[in-house]
Amino acid sequence: MSSIEEKVIEIIMEQLDVTKEECVPEAAFIDDLGADSLDIVELVMAMEENFAIEISDDELMKIRTIQDVIDFIKKKRGALN
């Protein structure tokens, strides 16, 4: 597991009060992790802060699973590098 993935899961565990076992890549925030739309906004803010990226509202709408977040951050970071 890459350091980005580890960090993403760590943030999700803290923000959503869920266990590491629940944080499988295909876990959907709303359907599997009990999040609501405000939880996702807060989560995305934490990602922005931790990874020094910006996620627009349009992009936020496309985020459904943990894998989506990981792919998204990797893409953004790739673009930065």
Binding site: Q15, L16, M45
Partner: protein, 412 residues
């Protein structure tokens, strides 16, 4: 015909204790909950003391996620409501949900959250505000959070009448049940306003005590040397229930609530008028609704803030209403121990008054070392004492000229 309303559950978090039992023991032993402010750095503030909630574990009542997102006044409300419902032995199931309502008052709402959010806004910009900022600030979210948590789907509201918010909430809840709009109400007041803005703001009004070197002595209602109120925080919640509903489930009944009097001074934003005619009218109206004469009241839990004006004028109003009988009444200010919980004061003081009636104990006014010459009633100085209470009154007055008086009586 109006229905009878009784109190079947109590819950509180306050500067003296984090449950009814500890709080009542503290009240009976004349314990002060006032100390040096720990919530923020008071460097440069005239007042450095308050009645803070101590040793309270939010995690006993809310999840880690909620503890992070909710303002303290919301956590105090959730905790107090949980304890009150448990005390009442009441579960709000489907058969009850639509007939169970919530009114919890708050004078200010989530002010500390607002102050921190403003800092974030100024330092980090508008995109860094938590989406949970607004729901933590809104005053009516105490009632909202409680209704969501416990599934109460009946009437919901929030009274925002400064220092009488809690009393107004209980009074309005009483009438909703009495008039048939609900069978159960979860009601009271919640406040967590020990913050830089409120302390500085009330200091600007010269309303707070500055007895920083002796915090436990600072709240001294009716004493010659009183120099302002001491801010407290916390919550007091009552479960009000229509009498036949309470009897049907064999609930313990602390007391009956039988009257409310609400008036406006129409005088000044903060000061009461000399003689406090509006307070006197509230007391009369509450007695009238309760169908009680002045001779039937044995105890008054006063507003008694420890400010020079309030205490003097409240005594004058009591004398005006009760005449010669004022001298045979027990009249105390439990704010001498708890501090002034602003919008939660009416809630906490209703909890204390209900316990006083149930136990037959008159709560004391501590720090009354040299009573003001014009404050010459039986304030139950220093220590509590036994005394049967057939009926009691709880006074709450708020900025803007609000006067709310509740009458409770022993259930027979």
């Amino acid at each position: 015909m109006k229905r009878r309303v009784v109190i079947t559950g109590l819950g509180t978090v306050n500067p003296i204790g984090n449950c009814v039992k500890d709080s009542w023991e503290g009240i009976c032993s004349g314990k002060s909950g006032i100390g040096t402010i720990t919530k923020f750095d008071t460097d440069g503030f005239s007042t450095k003391i308050a009645g803070e909630v101590k040793g309270f574990d939010p995690r006993a009542f809310v999840s880690a996620k909620e503890a992070r997102r909710l303002d303290d006044f919301l956590i105090y409300a959730l905790a107090s409501a949980a304890m009150a419902l448990e005390d009442a032995g009441l579960t709000i199931d489907a058969s009850r949900a639509e007939r169970t309502g919530v009114i919890i008052g708050s004078g200010i709402g989530g002010l500390l959250t607002m102050e921190k959010a403003k800092e974030t806004l100024m330092q980090q910009g508008p995109r860094r505000l938590s989406p949970f900022t607004i729901p933590a600030v809104l005053a009516n979210l105490a009632a909202g959070q409680v209704s969501i948590r416990f599934g109460a789907k009946g009437p919901i509201s929030c009274t925002v009448t400064a220092c009488s918010s809690g009393a107004n909430a209980i009074g309005d809840s009483f009438r909703l049940i009495a008039c048939g709009h609900a069978d159960v109400m979860i009601t009271g007041g919640a406040e967590a306003a020990v913050s830089p803005l409120t302390i500085a703001g009330f200091n600007a009004m010269r309303a707070l005590s500055t007895r920083n070197d002796a915090p436990e002595k600072a709240s001294r209602p009716f004493d010659k040397d009183r120099d302002g109120f001491v801010m407290g925080e916390g919550c007091g919640i009552l479960i009000l229930e229509e009498l036949s509903s309470a009897l049907k489930r064999g609930a313990r009944i602390y007391a009956e609530i039988s009257g409310l009097g609400v008036t406006s001074d129409a005088f000044h934003i903060a000061a009461p008028p000399p003689g406090h005619e509006g307070a006197a009218r509230s007391m009369r109206l509450a007695l009238q609704e309760a169908g009680l004469g002045t001779g039937e009241i044995d105890y008054i839990n006063t507003h008694g803030t420890s400010t020079p004006l309030n205490d003097l004028y409240e005594v004058q109003a009591i004398k005006h209403v009760f005449g010669e009988k004022a001298r045979s009444l027990a009249v105390s200010s439990t704010k001498s121990m708890t501090g002034h919980l602003l919008g939660a004061a009416g809630g906490l003081e209703a909890v204390i008054t209900a316990k006083a009636i149930e136990e037959g104990v008159l709560p004391p006014t501590i720090n009354l070392d040299n009573p003001d010459d014009e404050c010459d009633l039986d304030f139950v100085p220093h220590t509590s004492r036994k005394g049967e209470i057939r009926a009691a009154m709880s006074n709450a007055f708020g900025f803007g000229g609000v006067n709310a008086v509740l009458v409770f009586k022993k259930y027979t």
